[in-house]
Amino acid sequence: MPGERDPLPALLREFERLHPGVTVQAEALPWTADVQHQFFVINLEGRSAGFDVLMLDVIWVAEFARAGWILDLSDRFDAAARAEHFPSTITAATLNGRVWAVPWVMNVGLLYYRRDLLARRGWAAPTTYEELARQALALRGEGGIREGFLWQGKQYEGLVVNVLESFWALGTDVLGPSGDVLPDPALAAAALAQRRAFITDGVSPALVTAADEEVSRREFGAGAAVFLRNWPYALALFEAPASPVRGRVAITALPGGGALGGAHLAINAATRYPTQAWELVRFLTRPEAQRRIGDAVGLHPTRPALFESPALLSIFRGARARPVTPWYQTLSATLQPELSAAITGVKPPARALDDARGRLRYLLLP
């Protein structure tokens, strides 16, 4: 857990005071998601009981559940308790009707925009990508604004997230209800073609094809763009005292909703202390603990009751889980190069998606 004022140690000591005889040891994880995933694969596939409670990325829950690495929490985490969390976080924790993890901290993709620029024209924040593109083109070039809409188009998980959000805006998804890959190829291709058009039409600069969160955040933070798709962490940076865009940025929901991110807590299936582990999960996901952890790492609670700002609450309510499947890693790794090929113009969108589907047909198993 990064950050100087890491609240975790204090929370763990408090838990120990409330549960005499139990000591909790925190173990730091590697920094990047890929390496964390590898750490868990090695330890959990080896049925190691070296840790009892684990923090996992929302996109891993289904995979870990199918692998038999984490305990089914459906009975302990009952319907009433689940209802206290945003529905999208429960969706991400559910596989085959069972719940495998408890939502801990939450992230959601959202749209940052230059309030001052839109206000000057008397425009409201865009609610569709078409409207966003029109506003971006109209405002680009005004008063030092070089760019319209910034997003994450580098070949990595972030690109999958951005394209998924475009899919959702058009009413389609990567997986259909019965698990079929790319159920509406035409709609998916249209969404991807729109992303490509953002670049060719000048709505988005060419640099988005190499941009991750930080590259795009810095560019927008320097006052160079009208719109930015990013996670909530950037808001505090834009409002920092020395920020060139301080007081000029507002947030709104992405058209079609933003992708859910964040972390859940689960229990190692090999644990020798399931009861105590469950107590700890419950303790750490309480409202008070969620708020402290969230504040420290720039994430948010998974409980609507903890939101004071109605604007933020409505954005978080609109969060959508990425496809919940044990094969998410394969799905994403296969899509990444093809989506990148489509937005850089190397392949027409329909062919890129066809190629991805061809590979997935061989790699995905029931």
């Binding site: 190499a210 990148s340 850089t344």
Partner: protein, 290 residues
């Protein structure tokens, strides 16, 4: 003639070493070969023998062919540029009298850096808005190239980074060989009226050839398993234009855990590396007997 008893004793002495070698080479190779004949996703308990299905899919997998093409282009371009620049730098060093020690030390620096540090450095050099390479390009009136996001530039950008990092290796080995060429050879050439170009062609390069061949072998085998620069800088993108076979195999083996398919890819890389090494060694033998 060695007596039979002596030979047997020799084999006995060599046995532990052979055993260890077998354990760390033959066994893993056999294991990977066996894996490549299976559909194997251990975390989900998937383990089925599928014969050559993985190889059959590989032959029609566009992503595999793309990775193969990227790897071949990367190997040929980076090794060629490294050899040419390396020889040039070695010749310049050889002629240099003053500051030679400092030049040598500076030359060594890029080669000493860990690959990931090099990659992170180039990440800043190629930064789309505040990178050094972009600033230079703008100064030259070439606009603001999107080095790592433009499919027509990305591989070249990575080759440049690789050349920066490994050219010194080529230069140093060539320089060492140049030091070993006796001065009398050059004096004789001058007496015979050979110009600089003729001396380079008739003396220096032929004498460098064996070293160059070794260096080329090392560099080619290294480039064939290129991984760290692309992993850190581009993740194989954009549009998989920097996805080498090593990165492709990594994705199958460690990221998505399709061990069977990943093993098939690794086997192909293994054969490719073996064939390349054999070719080089044959060329070396031909050169030696000439």
């Amino acid at each position: 003639m060695i007596a039979r008893g002596e030979r047997r004793f020799g084999l006995l002495l060599a046995a532990p070493a052979l055993l260890v070698l077998g354990a760390v080479t033959l066994y893993p190779v056999a294991h990977v070969l066996a894996l490549s004949l299976q559909r194997r996703v251990p975390i989900f308990g998937v383990a089925d023998w599928v014969g050559l299905a993985n190889y059959a899919f590989l032959t029609r997998d566009p992503a595999f062919w793309n990775a193969a093409r990227v790897t071949v282009v990367f190997v040929i371009a980076s090794v060629a540029v490294e050899l040419a620049l390396g020889v040039a730098v070695a010749l310049a060093l050889h002629r240099q009298q003053r500051w030679r020690a400092i030049a040598l030390a500076l030359l060594l620096l890029p080669w000493c850096l860990p690959g990931v540090v090099t990659a992170r450095t180039f990440e800043w050099i190629y930064h789309p808005t505040s990178g050094l390479a972009g600033a230079v390009a703008r100064r030259l009136g070439a606009g603001a190239p999107n080095w790592l996001g433009d499919p027509s530039l990305s591989l070249a950008a990575l080759i440049a980074a690789d050349v920066w990092r490994t050219m010194p290796f080529v230069a140093l080995l060539c320089y060492a060989r140049l030091l070993g060429i006796p001065g009398e050879v050059y004096e004789a050439a001058t007496v015979d009226g050979a110009g600089r170009a003729a001396t380079l062609r008739a003396i220096t390069l032929p004498l460098l050839a064996p070293v160059l061949l070794m260096v080329a072998l090392f560099r080619t085998l290294d480039a064939l398993r290129a991984f760290d620069l692309m992993f850190v800088l581009t993740g194989g993108g954009p549009a998989a234009t920097t996805e080498t076979l090593a990165l492709f195999a990594y994705r199958s083996l460690f990221q998505t855990l399709h061990l069977g398919y990943g093993a098939a890819v690794s086997t192909v890389v293994f054969v490719l590396v073996g064939a390349t090494a054999t070719l080089y060694l044959a060329a070396g033998r031909a050169d030696a007997t000439r």
